[in-house]
Structure formats: structure tokens, C-alpha cells
Symmetry: C2
Subunit: 518 residues, 2 copies
């Protein structure tokens, strides 16, 4: 067999694309594909590099490079005296799929390369649970009444960007290596001072772990404080972000849902249902989603349980900066800094796409939270930490909060007035609270909030349904229908239009026979 003929016979050798360059790489690609498809069999000899180079009209070095690459990868073997052959190890692989796996189908090596297997494989059980979470917690479009959208008067002004440019041009904000998983010290110092001043939180910078926001703080707390089988108290209703973490990572009975009333979590129900729980997750400043603060008596009862039972309290303080009457409630953490893990965030008061928040832990738990953070994602991006530290230290955060609070107060009053005017009282009842960035609109029982939300979404209105935040457990905490409506930052014309459309949707759904019959 003439050498040139042999090279040409190789089915893989489509013409190389000289314009694309990297001829050696192109050649390696073709040879690899041919071996994988079975067009070249284990043990089969390749032409010499010189002959192949001539046949292809390329430099011999190009072919040598391709061969060496495929030898290194295990596709080819260099046999002394016999030139280069397709690796015989590939034949072994194809023949025995694994000693301990006799039931394995004898999938041909060539198969998987281009044909995905038929979809007969079941997905792992956790994958199914997580896929359901994606469905339930998908972000809504940034139109009325999405919560916490930095728009107009609720967005940071240009100071944020300018400080960012300045900080990034300095050495401190420049690209860097791995650093403290707890977060930038300057930022922690600024946060400790802010939390003390604004929230009566008692801590120093060494107790703070910078997070990517409240959600990460909740996740870290679940990891550090709970074994898979440990029980936790969770408010009923509650934020889906906490109930979903617990549901995804353990048996359903680990979650003890505790009803809330006008004073917040009914602690005595927790003591009755699950006295040995390890952790209580609460939103004492502003119950999510209903909006009332936890009373002092309940706070004390909760703390006493935690002390007596060696349990912890995770205080999710997601939006207490936005208060429109009286002072902000002091944090529960200030009553017992040894028992409470405090979660704060800049997602609400600055903007969600920043992804920076903080967790304040009792000193003995700090190393554990650091370890959990390292395993989760190592540390927060550092440039933005430098920017935020400067923003706080230079007084811009306080100014921003004052400005945004007044903007929110205005849009809140505007929305309340519109809802009171346009929503029929027999179908919808407002519960506005006096803090936060959303209000609750209770719906009449014959309406289904998820249907209203779906219909609203189809008309370009974002709202969240209340009913999925309830456990649906029984008579002491019946599921109620309602909407969570954010009131920040949108142009008044957009809000007006959205309220009118929402009113029409509610009227229409209340009047639909299939709804009324339910």
C-alpha cells in the first residue's frame, strides 16, 4: 500500500481550513473524532508523520504536534519500531465496561460522542425538589408591584458609581487573590457601627461575616446549626426562602410551623409542638409577609426557650430600615447577643443586584460560619466590599436611607390611596403596616391568589401570592388568600395603570362562575 494512498484512505481527513489557523489542532480534532467514531480501530497503524504531512500539505511539525497531543490524551500510542497506532487500551475499555458492573449495557465507545442517550434515566430525588423551587421562587419582572426594585428615587444616586470608580482605581479595590472568608475588615467595622447605631445590635467587627444577602445567611445558618434530622421553628406564614431550604435538605417533619398572630410568632405553640427544636427562624422587626412586629413579651419568651433548651434564634431583619412611623424596632439580637444570629442585607436598602449582606454570630460560632462560607463559595467579591465600606464610612448610606425612606413613604401613601379608591371592599382588604417595602392585600375567600397573580402576570403586573407562604396545616393557621404588593420607585402613572388593571382582574375572577363555585 502506497503511503500517500494510506493517508488519503483515512476517512477523517477532511481538508484543513488554512484560514482558521491552528492546523495541528484541527488535525488532532479530526483524528480524535475518527477514533471515537470507530472509523479508526484500536491497534490500527497511522501513516508516518512525514508521509501524512506531505499528503496534507502541512509542515511535519504540525503533524508531530497533533500526534503528541493524542498520545498524551491516550488516543494514540507510539510503538517503538511500529510507528504510531490507535491505542489498544481503547479496545479494552470498549470490551469491559467495568468488572463490578456486569449488568452494564455494552455501549459502543462511539455511541456517546454525538448521540445523547434516550431520556430513560431518572433524575436524582434532590434534583426534582430543587427544580420545583426554581418554579416557586423565580424572580418576577421589575414592574409594579415587584418588591425592591431600584428605580427613580429609590435607586442609589450617581455617588455609588463614582465611589466605585475611585475605589477600583486605588490599590485596595483592584483585582486581588483569595482573602479573608469573613469579608473585608473595613466593611465589617462600618457595618458593626451601623448596626449598633441603627438597630441596637451589640457586636464587634469580628462577629460579622459578609454574605451575599439574607438568603445566603439563612442557608449558612441551616448548615451550621442543624443536623439533617434536627427540628426548626418557622413562622406560619413565612418566607419561601427559609421553608424551601429546610424542605430541600431534610425530612418534612424537621420543620415545625408556628402560627403568627398580631404579636408575631406564637411562642407557646412552638413549646407545645417542638420544644426540642434547635433553631427558631423569625422576622421580629417586620413579620414576613404579614408585616407586624413581634411583641416584647414574645421576644422574651422566645429567648427564654432558647436559653433553657440551648437553641438558637435566627433573626432575619430584611427591611427594618424602612419605617414610616416611630423608631425602627430594636433588634432581638440586642437582647441576647449569645443566642441570636442576626441577618442584615443591603439588597433592600441599596439594590438587590449588589448581593451583599451580613450575618452577625455569637463569637463562639464565628469559626463555624466561616467554614460554611468557605465551602459554599469561599468569599464575597472584594471590589464591591471596598466600595460599600467607603460608601458607608463617608456617610452616604445614611443619606441614601433618609432619601429612600421618604421616597418609599410617598409611594406607599400613593399606592394605598389608589387601592382604597379602586379595589372593591367586598373583595379586597388592605393591611399596610407601618414599615417595609410591601403591603398585604387580603382577598376574599372565593378568590384564589395564585390565579390572580397569574392573570396579573399576563397583563404585565408583578405580584406575589400569599397562600404559598402558609403551611396549610390546620385550623389554627388556615391558609389565607392575598397578594404581596411592593410599592417602591415606580412612576405614578405605571402604578395607577397597574392598580386599575389589578382591580379589573379581581372583579373578573370573583365573577367567574368556576371561581365562585370552588
Amino acid at each position: 500500500m502506497g503511503r500517500t494512498v494510506k493517508a488519503v484512505e483515512l476517512p477523517v481527513l477532511a481538508p484543513l481550513d488554512r484560514g482558521a489557523g491552528q492546523l495541528g489542532r484541527q488535525l488532532a480534532l479530526q483524528l480524535r473524532a475518527a477514533i471515537r467514531k470507530g472509523a479508526m480501530r484500536p491497534g490500527e497503524a497511522l501513516p508516518s508523520t512525514r508521509v501524512l504531512a506531505t499528503a496534507l500539505g502541512v509542515a511535519r511539525g504540525t503533524v508531530v504536534e497533533a500526534f503528541e497531543q493524542l498520545v498524551a490524551e491516550g488516543f494514540l500510542e507510539a510503538r517503538s519500531g511500529a510507528g504510531t497506532v490507535v491505542s489498544s487500551a481503547l479496545a479494552d475499555t470498549a470490551k469491559r465496561p467495568g468488572r463490578s458492573a456486569p449488568a452494564a449495557p455494552t455501549t459502543k465507545t462511539s455511541r456517546a460522542a454525538s448521540t445523547p442517550l434516550p431520556p430513560l434515566r431518572p433524575l436524582p430525588a434532590p434534583a426534582l425538589r430543587y427544580a420545583a423551587i426554581t418554579q416557586a421562587m423565580q424572580p418576577v419582572p421589575n414592574v409594579p408591584f415587584a418588591v425592591s426594585v431600584p428605580l427613580g428615587a429609590t435607586a442609589p444616586d450617581d455617588t455609588w458609581r463614582k465611589i466605585g470608580n475611585r475605589v477600583r482605581a486605588s490599590r485596595s479595590g483592584a483585582p486581588s487573590g483569595y482573602s479573608d472568608p469573613q469579608g473585608l475588615r473595613a466593611l465589617r467595622v462600618a457595618i458593626a457601627e451601623y448596626a449598633r447605631r441603627a438597630r441596637s445590635v451589640r457586636c464587634d467587627a469580628d462577629q460579622i461575616i459578609i454574605t451575599a444577602g439574607t438568603q445566603q445567611g439563612l442557608h449558612l445558618a441551616c448548615q451550621v446549626l442543624l443536623e439533617t434530622q434536627d427540628q426548626a421553628w418557622v413562622e406560619d406564614p413565612a418566607y419561601l426562602g427559609i421553608t424551601s431550604i429546610l424542605a430541600a435538605n431534610g425530612p418534612p417533619e424537621r420543620v415545625a410551623r408556628i402560627p403568627v398572630d398580631d404579636e408575631g410568632m406564637r411562642v407557646e405553640e412552638g413549646l407545645r409542638k417542638a420544644p426540642d427544636a434547635r433553631v427558631a427562624f423569625v422576622t421580629p422587626s417586620h413579620q414576613y409577609p404579614l408585616g407586624m412586629p413581634m411583641s416584647m413579651a414574645r421576644r422574651e419568651a422566645l429567648l427564654q426557650w432558647a436559653r433553657a433548651r440551648n437553641a438558637w434564634i435566627v433573626e432575619d431583619d430584611y427591611d427594618s430600615e424602612m419605617r414610616y412611623a416611630g423608631h425602627p424596632f430594636p433588634a432581638l439580637q440586642g437582647l441576647d447577643s449569645q443566642r441570636v444570629i442576626y441577618l442584615g442585607t443591603f439588597s433592600k436598602i441599596l439594590f438587590p443586584s449588589l448581593r451583599l449582606g451580613y450575618l452577625i454570630a455569637p463569637p463562639d460560632l464565628v469559626p463555624a460560619f466561616c467554614g460554611a462560607r468557605i465551602l459554599m463559595d469561599r468569599l464575597a467579591p472584594t471590589a464591591e466590599q471596598h466600595v460599600l465600606a467607603a460608601f458607608i464610612a463617608e456617610g452616604h448610606l445614611d443619606r441614601h436611607i433618609r432619601r429612600v425612606r421618604s421616597a418609599y413613604a410617598e409611594s406607599r401613601s400613593f399606592l394605598i390611596a389608589l387601592l382604597e379608591k379602586h379595589l372593591p371592599a367586598r373583595l379586597a382588604t388592605l393591611q399596610a403596616g407601618d414599615q417595609g417595602m410591601h403591603l398585604v392585600l387580603w382577598l376574599a375567600d372565593r378568590l384564589r391568589d395564585v390565579d390572580v397573580v397569574r392573570a396579573a402576570g399576563a397583563q404585565g403586573i408583578s405580584a406575589r401570592a400569599l397562600s404559598p407562604t402558609y403551611a396549610g396545616g390546620g385550623a389554627d393557621a388556615p391558609v389565607r388568600q392575598g397578594l404581596i404588593l411592593g410599592f417602591g420607585g415606580y412612576p405614578e402613572a405605571d402604578v395607577t395603570a397597574a392598580v386599575l388593571r389589578l382591580a379589573a382582574i379581581i372583579e373578573q375572577q370573583a365573577g367567574r362562575p368556576d371561581q365562585a363555585c370552588r
Copy 2:
């Protein structure tokens, strides 16, 4: 009792600080503290707001504000006809710490306010595990031989910062609300194109989830693919970042450590030890920490196992861009995009403090990974995603990689020459590989790598010990002593000084009687 006298009798009323402002808040603070300390008892009446305002020399509104705040918090009660009293609910709380908790100590309400409990409480078991991880995975200082420190020629040039300033000034990079947990589409499109071109990864943008780097990708994969009791194959030795996640979240027997040899993971050992494992975690391009690629035969055997057993392969491709001879190895994912979850990162090729990477999943697993990401931290910060998308799309990433690769090649040769010259052959053997950002320096058996690392750290040298990356399981994968030395970016004078000091430390430790006796 005269009213003025009564007000003065209140032990809490230290003079208000008029210079500090917020008098109502100061008053509320003092009253709250007094009630918590027990200085004012449940049921006790307060003076009227008018009397108290006069006594304190403040506006009556100031006192009203403080009282209203404390009523809202549950400290005070407004009794019709009886004025304002300390809430009687507080007495109930103090008397009965919880119906179902008879064993609870009768901690006085006043106690927790200022005195932390004695440290008799045990920490949760997971907390102890995570604290140990903090110890083992603490970042090392950014001096030779820390891996992946963007310094000098290995740092991004000013283009990165300038694009950042430009993008942030545009609408797209400005502060925004919650958005797609999968990540910015423009960035995913850019990554899909890059991964296809550079790594032979087969995917489209819809299969990509933007992560905070490889560590988060590993964490997500563990959550989505594994139940607590499911087994996983992990290389021996392996990256502590994966072994620690598995150890922190399940029983030890869930991890099947599979020894590696010159061709990478010994798949036949996996089939023998744990044929029913659900996932194999591998570093096929560049085994971590040892540096060799996985051979083609092993890749095929691994894929066959996964197909036969409905298992998944997680391919951690952390630094394959840095190759100094031949092409980069094509990704395992390119051989079977249905079975492989591919993890890439920009921490190594750009800089670690960026915290952006990507996970490429088979299409049927994408919703699950999104859900796990939402629960972990919702989404990656968006401004940097816009910056990176522009950086890639405008060709800067390719230029940066070319530049950095040549800088790394230079510093690698420089370090190898120094080590060969100064390290005594009887004590240390170099294994340089031909890719990556670190090399391995094997130590003689009588040395202990963790001692060498500790001594080096004390002299301002960063190194990682190899022995902790081994499972220490038995004769087929004995623990070996060695150092992981990063070679990027440091000034040559610093590297020279560090090598000389390291050589002296190794000589000294080898000669120490207590070491030689071990």
C-alpha cells in the same frame, strides 16, 4: 405622691444628651433598659406624658413618641383610665418560661440583657465540623508560593477597570433588582462560545449557570445530585474543597476515595469499591493536586460506568487554560454532554476576588441547579457579569490568557530552575507537569509537610501541604509528603529569597532529631 417627684424617682432617667438629638429615642432607650433590668415592674404606672415632659424639660410630643414606641414593642400598655403602665405580659413571661419546658431554669428576665450565659452550652455538631474546615482551608497570604495571585504580569491590565467604568455608567451595568438566577444571558452566550472554542465543551447558553467559582459549583452539584446517604467517588489525593463538602454533609462512608496513578483516577477501583455511587468528582484536565491529565482509556471507562449506572460525572476544570506544551486537553464534557456537569472558573485566569465561574449542566438538570442556586444566594452580582461579558465579547479575555500564559510559563521555568539548583535532591523531588499554576515538590518520607508549611509560614512563605489531600486509607494510596507551590506573578527577587529560605527550612527539618526519629 407628687407627680414631679414620681418622675424623678424613676431610676432610669439619666439626663438626656441634648447635643446628640433624637431625644424621644434616648428616652425610649432608657425606659426599655429600666424595664428589662426590673427597675420598673410589670403593672407599675408611669407618670403622664405631660408631667414627664415637664420634669425632663422636653416637648410633650417627645415623651408621647417614646411611649408609643414602647407600647408598640410590648414594654408598656396604655390602660384606659389608668394612664400608661409597664406591660403585665412581661410578668407572665418571667413567671412561666414555657408550658412544655418544665426543666427550664427560671432565668430572670433581667439576666440576659447584659450578662452572657456561662459557656456551658455545647455547640451544634455541624458547627464543630465547619470550624475545623475554617482551620484547614484558611487562605494563605498573597506571597510566594500562594496560587493564583494577580500580580505584575499575571494581573489584568487597566482594560478590565476601564471596561468596568464604562459598563457601570451604562444602563445595563447600573444597580438593578432581582434577575435571572441562571445569570446574565449575554455572559452565558459569551461563555458558551468560549468553552466550545477553547475546551471542546458542547453546550448552549441555556445550559450554563453562572456561579461564584468552582467551589460553589461543587457545592451545587453535591446538593442537586446527592442525597445525604448517596456515595460519591472522589480522587485520592483530591482538592479539600470537595472532600470537605461531602464530609460536612453526610456520613463518612458516603465518600469512596479512588486512588489516582499516572493516568488519573483508577476507575476500576471505583467499580470495585462503590459501583453504585451516584457521582464521580474528577479533575481530568489537570489532576488536583498532582497535575497529570486523565488518559483517554480512563475517560471512556468513567463514562461507561456513568451511563450504565445512571450516575453523573462532575468535571472540575479549574485551570486548563494554563498549558505550556501542546494543546489544552479537550474537556471530558465534550465526550458526553448528557452525563457530565462541567465546572469552569474565572478565578484562576482573571483573578480570585472576582468570584465568577460557571457550571454547564445537561439540559434536564438545569432547573434543579437554578433552584439550588436560588436557595444558596439567589444570583451572582450583576454589574460584574455585564463587565465580564463585555470583556469576553470584545476579545480581551483571549488576549489576557495569551499574555498571562506566557508570564506563567516564564515564572514556572524560573521557579523550576531555582528549585533544581537549591533544593537537595535527597530531600525534595520536583514534579512540574506541563500545565496549571502550581507544581508539586515531593518531600522525603522523614519530613512532615505540615511542619515544613508551618515553618515556612512563620518566615513569610505561603505553601500548601500535600498530605492532607490524601485520604490516608491504605497501601494502594499511601499518604505522601509534599508541597504545592504556586509560581505566578511574583517578583523574581521575592521568589529567589523564598526558595532559599524554603531550602534552609527543609534542610533544617530533615536534620532535626525529633523529625528524624519519626
